[in-house]
Amino acid sequence: MINPLPLVIADIRHTRTGVIALILLIAIAVALGVAVSAQERALRTGGNKAADPFDLLVGAPGSQTQLLMSTVYLQPAAVDLIDGSILQAMSQQAGIHYAAPLAFGDSYQGYPVVGTTAQFVSLDGQRTLTEGRLFQSMTEAVIGADVKLALQDRLQARHGQIALDELDADEDDELLHRQITYTVVGRLPRLGSPWDRAIMVPVEAIWRTHGLSTGHRENETLSIQASRQGHKLDWSALKIGPPWDAEHIPGVPAIVIKPVSVRDAYVLRNYYRRHDATTAFFPAEVLLELYALLGDARFLFASMAVATQVLVLGAMLLAVFAALALRRRQLGVLRALGASRSYLFAAIWSYTVIVITLGAALGLALGWLTALLLSSWVGNTTGLLLPVSLGTKEFLMVAALIGIGFLLALIPSITAYRHSVASLLRA
């Protein structure tokens, strides 16, 4: 039984610098393809997971992508408001389990402060808090898993993107008059979305701090009474949550609707899409469009990766041919000593496929690591959790490269196979 492995291993050891360079070249080319593919899937998975709680989004007519980015991914953007009466009407509309307004614009130490309802924060009881409880008054807040605050910590949100100390004196007085100090009362579990960095407060608090009505007649009455009597308004005594009074409800940037059934979801989407003052969409619709763009980019990168792999395999073959040209006499000696052609064939083929396989395996690991690092960076920057995993696609890609490498390795092997002993020894 022929066994060229000792010779192959010795040769790899003897030419390790060149072999390492070849392995690294192959690994980098493979890693590029694997990282692009794994990262794209991670983006899809992470993007979908982040959009899960948002069954149906309703906003003012305009860019659905912008609305999606503002609500699901909490990217700051100027969004037109929907008339508050629409939110109020939803509370009586059939097919709606709940409709939660989302109000953005404030922040605290870089964490976005989002106004909504306790029902949406807990997904109507489907989501359990890891600490504390839901907010029950205008001065309470629930924080995301990554917000570096503790229960009972107190905070004052910045008004919009402007710090209070940057305002002029008149504005300063007015804002301070409306400023609410929140107490952290609960923490959400990790969601793997930018909402992990959000501070959630009653939407009425956001309305109030922006000088708007709070949606409830009794709140307005209390406010007027306090003002007349010269008392300081007790924020915690104000009513929060639906239902709101139509004449006191301000506009909102977005509304999340939890439909009762799938059929209701489509009926509601069509209804609010046809409505003059609104647009409505399932986040998955917009994500699919974004993924299509992402797919184009992935195709471009994947094509570049394949081209690189082809070039590297070509370079690898040239290197093997060059090495064989330098070692023709050595091959001749092996034949003279009695090594068969099949021994030489097996030795050269094994050498080539070992290098290709090691390079591809290292590339798979490098690609996975690169995707992990990219995901970690995206996660730190956006709060979006991108779960990186190697799937069948990546393994097939690497298997295909190895398979092609195995076939290409036949070329130098057959070339050496065809030479006579005498011609090899004369080299």
Partner: protein, 232 residues
């Protein structure tokens, strides 16, 4: 263990084209009507450089195909064998020693000696034999690299490699050409020790080696003439 091989070779003609690919003009390298070797004999072939000595042993061992030749080693006419069969015949019957040793860098001393065992064919415990041979040629079998061996040590390792399978024919091409006198002497002793079990065919310019051969042939202009024959 195979018995030493006797050789009968006739009508050896080998020529090369003066211009590669052009068969119309060629020069004759070998033109030998008859060459014989008795089993267990030691035969030296000498002659000026370029006379065709290496070509002759290549033809005699089936490494190179002559234009015409009938070469019989023992019962086998190797000129009737295809190239693959000749490879297998060499693997099982011939121990080759080269002037430049041709040890394989990256392999340890022991692996170099046992290299031919990886070609297939043999089943016996050649590792034990390799240890014995290296002990006999005086090279430490545990050296992990051949890079630090002297030329004399390299040639002794090459001889151990040639003797590994106890071949019935040992062919040595200028085995002492690049060695100092002391190393040459050791190498000659080792080759002659093996003669008990093998026919020995050497190409050499070294008088010390040729002197100890049973028969010495001179190759000149492709033709062979017998310079000396010693009858034991």
């Amino acid at each position: 263990m195979l018995k030493p091989l006797a050789c009968t070779a006739t009508d050896i003609r080998l020529s090369y084209a003066l211009t590669p690919g052009d068969q119309s003009t060629y020069y004759t390298v070998l033109d030998i009507s008859r060459f014989t070797a008795t089993a267990g004999a030691s035969i030296g072939i000498t002659g000026p450089s370029g006379a065709g000595k290496t070509s002759l042993i290549h033809v005699l061992t089936g490494i190179e195909s002559a234009d015409t030749a009938t070469i019989r080693w023992g019962d086998i006419n190797i000129t009737e064998l295809g190239e693959s069969a000749r490879d297998a015949w060499r693997r099982d019957h011939v121990g080759l020693v080269f002037q430049d040793f041709y040890l394989f860098p990256g392999l340890s001393v022991l692996q170099n000696v046992t290299l031919t065992a990886t070609f297939g064919g043999a089943d016996s415990d050649l590792k034990t034999r390799a240890y014995e041979l290296l002990d006999r040629v005086g090279v430490n079998p545990n050296r992990h690299t051949i890079d630090t061996l002297s030329r004399g040590e390299c040639q002794r390792v090459a001889i151990a490699r040639a003797l590994l399978k106890t071949p019935p024919l040992i062919v040595a091409d200028e085995p002492t050409a690049s060695l100092d006198a002391a190393s040459s002497c050791t190498v000659i002793d080792l080759l002659l020790e093996a003669r008990d079990q093998a026919t020995l065919l050497t190409v050499s310019h070294d008088p010390a080696l040729l002197e100890r051969m049973d028969t010495v042939h001179i190759l000149h202009n492709g033709c062979l003439s017998t310079a000396r024959t010693t009858t034991a």
